[in-house]
Amino acid sequence: MAEKLIELKNISKQFPGVLANSNVNLTINKGEIHAIIGENGAGKTTLMNILYGLYEPTQGEIFIDGKKAVIKSPLDAIKQGIGMVHQHFMLLPSLSVAENVVLGSEPKKKKFFMDYDKAIEITKNLAQKYGFKVDPREKIEALSVGVQQRVEILKVLYRGADILILDEPTAVLTPQETDELFNVIRKLVSDMNKTVIIITHKLQEVLAISDRVSVMRQGKLIGTLPTQQADAKILTEMMVGKEVLFHDLHREKVSGEKVLEVKDIKAKDNRGLTVLNGVSFSLRAGEILGVAGVEGNGQSELVEVLTGLRNLEDGDYFINGKKITDVNPSNMRNLGISHVPEDRLTMGLSKEASLWENLLMGLQHKKPFVVKKIHLNKKKIFERTDNLIKEYDIRAIDRYMKVKKLSGGNMQKVVIAREFSFDSPILIIAQPTRGVDVGATEFIHNQIMRKRNEGAAILLVSAELDEIMRLSDRIITIYEGSITGEFKNKEVTKQTLGLYMTGKQNKLKGSEDN
């Protein structure tokens, strides 16, 4: 019988207007990997934030090793040996890796000054010990999310945590990175007998790594069961409360015109380094072209170039065969491009604005939503808003609700709803289901496929190979700013894609030379 390490006893958390957790009882055993799953807004993060001392529960108690623990602040939690890797990274972009790792308990010299050399040494050693590849001197802002994640984990380990909480660690990771992460986690548990709590929306991950799994719904803990006894179907039902059918997506035969084409385009990233050198491909109506690639190989910039958000340094860009000279966002929108950006919070939405305002963006100068040139036609606007809320089943109080109060899954639905409602011939979609729960993911996939079947040309960028392989008709792999391969979906395996994504193989040699 495993020994109990943490016991949460009927924890409740009331936010203004929302009961985020209600009478949750959860037990974590020593040395186990415990998965927590649930829909967006189910209360997972809140519960963990309570355990980590970020929120004070409105009710309930926490026991660690059978003793009642008072955790009023993260510091208390750290002292209790708890460490948390947060859903949204908690790293200071302007500081170096080392500075971030030791933040909060820095090594000192002359007991007043920060000892940088020591910090760097510490970080090096830690990284070696756990087999991470990171340069302690690099600034965070220069790192890919994958690496940033490792820094987060180093942070936790540096503070000597025995209990690691990982909130959606894989949401932003590539398959390779996910595998690496899981290896680390297993190592931590087996070799260093640490205990891990992991939150994720991806069931196959749960089944792959966890010993036990707890399911939350609407703030309540529905149940905990050993992973052996679980499968995707059971867990989904527990999460959603009803059966979700994953029938295959219905794919119609559509053969459309070539609507978008780029020839040998080049672009620089924010630091002025070339991240796209000579990318060429074309996109037909009624097809989904998947772009597979490890984060940071230029796919983000590719999307920004195509949507006019980043300037095109070199190369040609055609839409419906016409060469585009003035590439800017409003122009591209007028040319019929819709865009689901990879980062909804900084680009896809205005958190402070209401639902209707967020859904209006892009139409505010178009009839019938504006009349007499500038007058906003609220009646029409609200009509549309409410329809979209229904159609895309966005869980919100009303059309006036501020978007920041929605859960991530619903935030994403807002973006999808807006962009899809334009009925644009071209859709450029990046990371459509990042951090989104199963139900919502299924819903979004169906919407994308619907668009395709209606004859839209869709460029799909995703770090999730499964997603790409489920939706795409064709797949191109991108590595270090160049296309390394192109495949018909059915004719390629994950493994092969992996090779091309990591540059280990390259069909179109020579495209790199220019």
């Binding site: 970020l54 510091l75 000054f113 002025g272």
Partner: protein, 312 residues
């Protein structure tokens, strides 16, 4: 012509520069701390004024300028605390709180001026003990060093030392890192087990103290009197210096000196017959021009370095 330039550009110009810059430097050093914790503090105007008044009060009653400074800093602590409570705890708009503090300060000082000293407008008295002046004998034998750097009021030198200290504090100590972090990404700091609120409080209190110094220097070092609203917009100039210096102590220091320099220049140009309205504009226009040049250069550099990376 040559004669005229001689009359303008002489050692007194630099003395004047240093004197005028000092109160701005002191206040700006405080303001840049709150700036780093994410609070733009235009309440420094009022904080300086209070410092000036309580400096005089302390010096007058205890017959010691040190007591004046202590009292001024004490009041600074209190006002800093109030600012923090409203901005950090009650999440009030820092502009409004600052404006309120400025109103409060100019009201309160006038009120106390009359209820304590029984005068309105201004109070000066031989019993106000001024801050000591410092004289380095080793400088005396080099004339221009002597002229420029010798026998200023003590806070002139303190302000220079503080520039260095605060620079070290911000960039070389854990505390400094936390302080900056609390502005850049409070949640990150919090999850690392350090209270961002606490750092914001600290910065606000430091700011109060430094503005207290600025005020005390104004009323006990620069002058030996108190007069209504004698802070005369130095708080706002300090804000400008901070933004100009991107809240970096050294850059801010330079910005303040620059302002002092052009102020001195303005006054001297008047003596050679430029209409006063225009000479008094000089510091303000100069600041804008300087900003333009600096930022432009940065933009150019950015472009250039981009190019270089290209080749690499």
């Amino acid at each position: 012509m040559k004669q005229m330039l001689k009359e303008i550009f002489n050692l007194t110009l630099l003395q004047h520069t240093i004197r005028t810059a000092t109160p701005i430097i002191l206040a700006a050093l405080g303001g840049l701390l709150t700036q780093h914790t994410g609070m733009l503090n235009i309440g420094m105007e009022g904080m300086i004024l209070l410092g000036a008044f309580f400096g005089v009060l302390g010096s007058y009653f205890f017959g010691s300028s040190l007591m004046g400074v202590l009292l001024a800093s004490l009041v600074g602590v209190i006002i800093g605390l109030i600012f923090a409570i409203f901005v950090v705890e009650l999440k009030s708009d820092e502009f409004i709180v600052a404006i309120a503090i400025n109103m409060f300060a100019s009201g309160l000082t006038v009120f106390l001026l009359r209820s304590i000293f029984g005068v309105k407008g201004a109070f000066s008295s031989p019993d106000i003990v001024p801050l000591p002046r410092v004289n380095f004998s080793f400088l005396e034998n080099v004339n221009f060093l002597d002229k420029i750097f010798n026998n200023h009021s003590i806070f002139v030198y303190i302000s220079w030392i503080l520039v260095a200290l605060i620079y070290i504090y911000l960039y070389k100590t854990p505390q400094g890192i936390w302080l900056r972090a609390s502005g850049e990404y409070p949640e990150a700091l919090l999850t690392a087990g350090v209270s961002a609120k606490k750092m914001k409080y600290k910065s606000s209190i430091y700011c109060g103290v430094l503005c207290g110094f600025a005020g005390a220097h104004l009323s006990l070092g620069y002058l030996t009197l108190f007069s209504e609203n004698m802070s005369a917009n130095r708080g706002f100039i300090a804000v400008a210096a901070i933004i100009f210096g991107k809240a970096n102590p050294i850059m801010t220091f330079i910005a303040a000196l620059m302002f002092g320099f052009f102020d001195a220049l303005g006054i001297r140009l008047q003596v050679v017959g430029v209409p006063s309205q225009f000479t008094q504009m000089i510091p303000y226009i100069a600041t804008i021009v300087a900003l333009f040049i600096v930022t432009n250069r940065q933009l150019q550099k950015h472009k250039k370095s981009k190019g270089e990376r290209e080749l690499a």
